[in-house]
Amino acid sequence: MAKLKINGKTVEVDVDAETPLLWVLREQLRLTGTKYACGIGACGACTVHIDGQAVRSCLMPVSAVGPDQAVVTIEGLSPDHSHPLQQAWEQLDVPQCGYCQPGMIMSAAALLSQKPNPSDADIDANVTNICRCGTYNRVRRGIHLAAEINKRGRAHE
């Protein structure tokens, strides 16, 4: 029995200790926004946050996640798709098929929380998710726009 803190809620799951977090999220907790695409940490479709860090959940055994570590999935990024990245993505029509986008957004969100105003080089270094449809240029614009939305939000506070 593993105890986890997912999107602010504590849950208990009865799974083999080796089961990757990805599959616990998808199959035990029905949080299917986190995607399987490679299973070897190469593509980033399964990216979630653990204590604010972007982590590829397909390589993370559930036993390695502590009961007090905050796991955030795309479903928990914001209650009403109001995260600046979600706003920016909507404004720019970023997704195409959309399958890689939860992971893409989670990678970008971790970057933004560490670097509120990332440069193109920061984006290149930190957003290494694969998108086969080819949304990269809108993803880049989306991250810059989200940074601006953030800034405007802070200015209003």
Partner: protein
């Protein structure tokens, strides 16, 4: 006075047509919470009568537009809705969409036309009848309002979902008259708007399917959950054409969650378990013996030999011929010869192949991502051993298609074959990435030898092109060939039509020596233009340099019969600053092509450093698709085409050893990342009068523009791909 239906009421028919889906109730368990997901993925709306097959209007004025083609990221869903809504004159902010099912299509004699979503056909192949669908519905709504008011419908106008009786100024809304409109006999003839009157077509409206993709709510096939559902993982013989010999189920039967281990068709084995992770873990522990057969002796080297032989073979099928190429080359002052080779490539959709099936002796239902619902239904019926009328397919959102999920429903057949062995229980089959990489229907492998002849002025007087290699049609559908010739092999090189060659070469011979290795080929986004445009556009560049001419001027001179092609080429050259100095170390390359009826061109700017590291800085691209339905989505597709085409150029290669594909995952079959991505400037220049495709054409020019820029930067002409195998350091 309006004509009411007298025989079968439309409402009765609708009820009948929705109840054919006995599993509809099951479908309701799909965990769809978002509005668009519900609209797009539920079966046809039942509670309100349709105005016609394309349009349902609810009392609250919500407009439900039915979409038969599949949305897989390319924006077709939104574009098709724009076409219907343009003629319907409805309020765009009230528009939602839904997919009719293939079973409903069957029951209603294909009222929605083709479901096939490939060949960049989504919009160009259905614009006329979907616009008509919208126009007919509009007329019926106006007629219903006029009837209610007792006025002549000629005195009524519709705009923005509101009908106005012009003389009196009375108004009503679509939602109020839709039920009455549904009972009217549709007009046989309606006039479509002149393109000059379009208000919504041509507007860069937002996609209808974005929000749920930002929150994790969008349900893809791989995400589907049905009550009581089991999960299956599969392994097919790693050698194409090989068979399953035996497996030792006892070794894994007691592993956690495992329910059963089953043979699938004659070449695969699957583990069925409570969760997919359990199924896949057990599958990896399962001892399996294969009968690999004679193909186990095939490797990339033996395939290359086979193609090399074809390059010099006497027998070949002519694809395009003019004048006397042989004579012209003999008389030429200078000849240039080059041989190019293009590898196998996997579609590598981000969402691996999957399908969920529920089989009983009486009925079979499948939930799957598919580019062709009708073909998925046929595959279901075939595998289920039932008539199609006893089967149904529910299309679930695709995590990428790229051609993999259109002509091939191997994953559907497998899911049904597994479901047959656990009757009455829904089973979701999901391929691992490794299975997906090794059991694709690959971009076909070809080589080309090109010979060009120049006269004393450096003008091109003759060209021979010999293509040697694989035919997709010979493998997929030999019925589409004529006299054993696959004309599709000549895509981008044909004498005329949607894939016509860009240049007028006075003496020309292009032929194909078909050589079909055992690796299954498939339609891969762009299909045969991918390699043919590389061959032609690189070689034209070679000829220009051999002639000592500017590559732009050399091309222009050969394009006097191709004004639209010339226009897109000129547009990119001008915007990129061709002929003007580029930033220090940056070099330019051009490419132009006609593909899927659209004219496309690109100018790439690259630099190559002393270590041979390529940097793609900027690409200017132009597209003339005739009519541009949604310019911002066209821009997205053009940008995406560069990612797809340049990923293929940089990294895309499946090699063959012992009869199977060597690559297993994204670590050995890489894709471009955001860091590799150049700036893309898109010129959308619709010239009107025709309908060209969008999703694929630009892929044709992506690679050759970059290759020609690499030559400009380094003096190196790359003729074998992908680039990762080449040393790009300057000569």
């Amino acid at each position: 006075m309006s004509k009411k239906r007298v025989n079968v009421s439309r409402r009765e028919f609708l009820i009948h047509s929705t109840t054919i889906g006995a599993g509809f109730a099951l479908g309701m368990y799909i965990p769809l919470t978002g509005k668009t997901a519900l609209a797009a993925e539920q079966t046809v709306t039942a509670e309100v009568p349709e105005v016609n097959a394309w349009v349902v209007i609810k009392p609250d004025d919500t407009v439900v537009i039915r979409i038969a083609r599949s949305e897989m990221g390319q924006g077709t869903l939104t574009g098709l809705a724009q076409l219907v809504a343009e003629e319907l004159e409805c309020d765009w902010s009230k528009v939602t969409t839904e997919y009719p099912t293939p079973g409903q299509s069957l029951a209603r004699e294909r009222v929605w036309g083709s479901f096939s979503t490939g060949g960049s056909q989504g919009i160009r192949g259905s614009h006329a009848y979907v616009r008509k669908g919208g126009a007919v519905a509009r007329q019926m709504l106006i007629e219903a309002a006029a009837d209610a008011w007792g006025v002549d419908m000629e005195q009524c106008r519709a705009a923005n979902s509101v009908i106005t009786h012009v003389p009196s100024g009375r108004t009503t809304t679509y939602g109020k008259v839709a039920v009455d409109a549904a009972d009217l006999i549709p007009p046989l003839e309606v006039e479509l708007k002149d393109p000059k009157e379009w208000k919504l077509i041509g507007k860069p409206v937002k996609r209808l399917d974005t929000v749920d993709k930002l929150t994790g709510k969008q349900v893809f096939g791989a995400d589907l959950q049905l009550p009581g559902m089991l999960n299956a993982a599969i392994k097919a013989c790693p050698v194409f054409g090989g068979k399953l010999k035996s497996f030792d189920a006892a070794k894994v039967r007691t592993m956690p969650g495992v329910r059963t281990v089953v043979a699938v068709e004659d070449n695969a084995v699957a583990v069925v378990a409570e969760t997919w992770w359990q199924a896949n873990t057990a599958l990896n522990a399962l001892p399996v013996k294969w009968d690999t057969g004679p193909n186990a002796a095939v490797s990339s080297q033996t395939i290359a030999k086979m193609l090399d032989e074809g390059l010099g073979a006497k027998e070949a099928s002519i694809g395009n011929e003019a004048g006397d190429a042989k004579k012209a080359l003999k008389e030429a002052v200078k000849t240039v010869e080059a041989t190019y080779a293009y590898p196998y490539q996997n579609h590598a959709t981000m969402e691996p192949m999957n399908a969920t099936a529920l089989w009983t002796k009486e009925r079979c239902e499948v939930w799957c991502p598919t580019q062709n619902g009708e073909a998925a239904l046929q595959a279901t019926a075939e595998a289920a051993g039932l008539s199609a009328s006893r089967c149904e397919v529910y299309k679930i959102h695709l995590g990428g298609g790229f051609g993999r999920r259109g002509a091939f429903h191997d994953y559907v057949k497998q899911a049904v074959a597994i479901a047959k062995q656990v009757p009455g229980i829904p089973v979701k089959l999901l391929w691992s990435r490794e299975e997906d990489m090794q059991h694709g229907h690959y971009h076909p492998i070809t080589k080309a030898r090109l010979v060009g002849g120049l006269d004393q002025n450096g003008d091109l007087v003759g060209m021979q092109v010999r293509i040697s290699g694989q035919s997709i049609l010979a493998s997929v559908n030999p019925n589409w060939m004529s006299n054993g010739v696959d004309m599709f092999v000549f895509q981008g090189l044909m004498a005329e039509g949607d894939h016509a060659i860009s240049y007028s070469v006075p003496n020309l011979s292009i032929d194909h020596a078909m050589r079909n290795p055992h690796v299954p080929p498939g339609f891969w986004r762009g299909v045969n233009i991918n390699q043919n445009a590389i061959y032609m556009e690189s070689f034209i560049d070679e000829l220009a340099h051999a002639a000592g001419k500017d590559p732009l001027e050399f091309r222009q001179k050969l394009m006097s019969d191709n004004p639209k092609g010339r226009a897109v080429l000129d547009a990119v050259a001008e915007k990129a600053g061709w002929g003007k100095s580029a930033p220090e170390g940056v070099h330019r390359g051009l490419a132009v092509c006609k593909a899927f009826a659209s004219y496309v061109a690109a100018c790439a700017e690259v630099s190559v450093d002393g270590n041979g590291k390529l940097k793609m800085h900027r690409i200017v691209a132009a597209t003339d698709p005739g009519y541009a339905v949604n310019p911002q989505q066209i821009e997205a597709q053009v940008e995406g085409s560069f990612v797809f085409g340049l990923s293929a150029l940089l990294y895309g290669e499946c090699t063959v050893a012992a009869g199977g594909v060597e690559q297993q995952n994204f670590d050995t079959y890489a894709s471009m990342l955001i860091a590799d991505m150049p700036k893309v400037e898109v010129i959308v220049m619709p010239s009107g009068g025709f309908w060209g495709g969008i999703g694929e054409p630009t892929i044709a020019v992506a690679a050759p523009a970059v290759l020609n820029a690499i030559f400009a930067a380094t003096g190196k002409r790359i003729r074998e791909f992908p680039l990762k195998n080449n040393d790009l350091r300057a000569v």
